[in-house]
C-alpha cells in the first residue's frame, strides 16, 4: 500500500497508543450498510473527544438506523476495570462490547450489545486503508500540537453476521468501514478552537462520507470555511482530504476541493440548528480527481446537540459569538460526475454522511 500518499499500515496502528498527555483520547469506529436497508455506526471510546477533557472516560456508542428511518442510539459508560486495550494489536474491550483483530488488519470480529440493540459481525477487508504521513506512528505516543490522527484500517470491508434491532435478531450482509482516530486533546481545545466552551474549529462545517462505486472507492472529508472561519486568516482555505482507490490501491489523493451546504432547514428545539438539504462536493486536482458530487439530503437520521453539555453562560457565549455546534448524520442521494486519473466516473445512488457543524452558517 505504501506510496507517496500513505505509509504502510502496521498492526500496531490499530492498537492503543499509550499517551500520558492530559486530555488525550482515542476512538475506534466502525459502520456498515446492509443489504436489508439497515445501517449501523459504532464507536469505542478511550477518553473523551469533547471538552471537558477526561482521559479516564470509557464508553461506547451504538447507532442503528432501520430502512424506515427509525433510530436506536445507545451510549453507555463503563468503569475502567471493565475495559481493556492492547498496545500490540486491535483488542478493545469495553464492558461486554469488543472489537478484535482475528487476522492482522484483514479480518476483525466486532461485537456490540446493549439491551435490545446490537450486532455480532465479521469484517473482512476488501479495500486497504490510509494514514496521513506525519500523523501518529504505530503505537507511538503522539505529541501535542500535531493534527488529529486519522488511521483508516478498512476503507471497505465485506460484513457478515447478525444484527439485533428492538430485540429482533436477523442475519445481515453488506459493506462496512473501520477507522481509528486519536488526538492529544479534545476537539476544539487547540488550534482555532474555542477553549472549553465549544467543540471544533470556529466556522467550519465538515462533511465526511465514502463513495463505493464499482471498482472505485473514495473516502472523502471536505469542508469549507464559512465567513466565520479563522480569525487569524480571514481567507482561510478549505480543508480537504480525499483518498481515491481503484480496486485495492490508492490511485489519487487531494487536499484541493470543498463541500458547501445550501437550502438549509433546522433540527432541534427553539430556533434549532441549521443543516443543509443539499451539499455540493467539488474535487479539484487536475489529472488525479476532479469533478463534482451533488448530494441531496433526504433525511437527517442523527442529531446530537453539542450544547446540551454547556452551562447557561457558556451557551449564551457560544450562541452569541460562535454558533451552535452539532453533529449530524444525513442520508442522501448522490449524483457523482468525476474524472479520476483520466477516466470518467459517473454514478448515482443512495448513501449517508457524517456532518460536524462547528459554527454559524455554511
Amino acid at each position: 500500500m505504501a506510496n507517496k500518499w500513505s505509509r504502510d499500515l502496521a498492526i500496531k496502528d490499530d492498537a492503543l497508543h499509550p499517551c500520558t498527555y492530559p486530555g488525550s483520547w482515542e476512538w475506534w469506529y466502525l459502520d456498515a450498510d446492509f443489504e436489508n436497508g439497515y445501517t449501523i455506526a459504532g464507536t469505542f471510546h478511550y477518553g473523551s473527544p469533547r471538552p471537558p477533557a477526561n482521559s479516564d472516560a470509557r464508553f461506547i456508542e451504538i447507532a442503528i438506523y432501520d430502512p424506515a428511518g427509525n433510530r436506536r442510539m445507545t451510549r453507555k459508560r463503563y468503569p475502567i476495570d471493565k475495559c481493556s486495550f492492547s498496545t500490540e494489536i486491535c483488542d478493545v474491550v469495553i464492558g461486554p462490547n469488543f472489537m478484535k483483530s482475528v487476522n492482522g488488519l484483514e479480518k476483525y470480529h466486532m461485537y456490540m450489545s446493549e439491551g435490545d440493540q446490537g450486532f455480532d459481525l465479521t469484517y473482512e477487508r476488501l479495500v486497504t486503508g490510509y494514514v496521513t504521513p506525519g500523523q501518529a506512528q504505530p503505537a507511538d505516543c503522539y505529541p501535542p500540537n500535531t493534527p488529529p490522527s486519522w488511521i483508516v484500517i478498512m476503507t471497505k470491508a465485506k460484513v457478515t453476521g447478525t444484527l439485533t434491532f428492538d430485540g429482533k435478531t436477523m442475519k445481515v450482509s453488506g459493506v462496512g468501514y473501520h477507522d481509528h482516530n486519536l488526538e492529544s486533546a479534545p476537539y476544539g481545545t487547540k488550534e482555532g478552537g474555542i477553549g472549553g466552551t465549544a467543540y471544533g474549529s470556529v466556522g467550519l462545517n465538515l462533511f465526511w462520507s465514502k463513495l463505493y462505486a464499482g471498482d472505485w472507492t473514495i473516502n472523502w472529508v471536505c469542508n469549507r470555511t464559512t465567513r466565520r472561519g479563522g480569525f487569524a486568516q480571514s481567507n482561510r482555505k478549505s480543508e480537504v482530504n480525499v483518498i481515491v482507490y481503484k480496486g485495492n490501491e490508492i490511485v489519487a489523493h487531494t487536499n484541493n476541493g470543498y463541500a458547501i451546504g445550501s437550502d438549509t432547514t433546522t433540527a432541534g428545539t427553539g430556533p434549532g440548528v441549521e443543516w443543509p438539504r443539499h451539499v455540493k462536493v467539488v474535487f479539484d486536482e487536475p489529472g488525479l480527481i476532479e469533478g463534482t458530487m451533488e448530494l441531496n439530503n433526504v433525511r437527517c437520521i442523527e442529531f446530537m446537540d453539542l450544547h446540551s453539555r454547556f452551562k447557561p453562560f457558556q451557551k449564551w457565549y457560544t450562541e452569541t459569538y460562535i454558533g451552535h455546534s452539532a453533529y449530524f448524520r444525513h442520508r442522501f442521494d448522490y449524483d457523482a460526475n468525476l474524472t479520476i486519473i483520466g477516466q470518467p466516473v459517473k454514478y448515482k445512488g443512495p448513501f449517508w454522511m457524517e456532518h460536524h457543524k462547528y459554527g454559524k452558517g455554511y
Partner: protein, 159 residues
Amino acid sequence: MQINAKMAEQVGVVVCEAREHFADAVEEYMRNKKTDNGFVSLNDKLEIERLFTEAVNSYIIAELAAIVSHVIYDELKNKEILEKIVPAFIDQYEGTIPRLPDDLINKTVDLTEIANRVLEAQANKTDIVKALLRDVSLNAKTKHMHASFAACALNFLGE
C-alpha cells in the same frame, strides 16, 4: 500560559463576530442606497464608519475587556478586577454612547433571565461568580456593555 492561549483565541472569536456584523451592515447600507453612481461619497464613508463603531461597541469593547480582565484575574487572583475596576470603566465608556446599537441591546436581552435562573438554583457558587450573576441580573436591561462583560466573564469562569 494555558489560560493566556485560550483567551488569545477568544480575541479572534469576538473580532470575527464583529467583522461579520459589520460586513452585513455595510452590505445592507449599500443595497439601500437610493443612488449608486459607483463612488463612495463622503456621506457613505461617514455612514460606514458609524457602522464600524456600532460593531465595535456591540461585539468588541466589553468582550475584549472581559478577556483581558480574566487573564489578569487568573494571574493576580484579585476579584476586584472583575467585580469593580473594569465594570466601572465599562460603565463610563457606555455612558458616552449617545445611541446604543440594536445588536448590543438584542444580544443581552435574555441575560437577566439566565442570571436569575442560575441564582435561583442556589447551587454552590464562588463569591466572584455570585457577584457577577448579580451584576448581570441588575444591569442586563440598562447597562448592556456591563452585562456583556459580566456574562463573558462568567463563561470564562466555566458558568
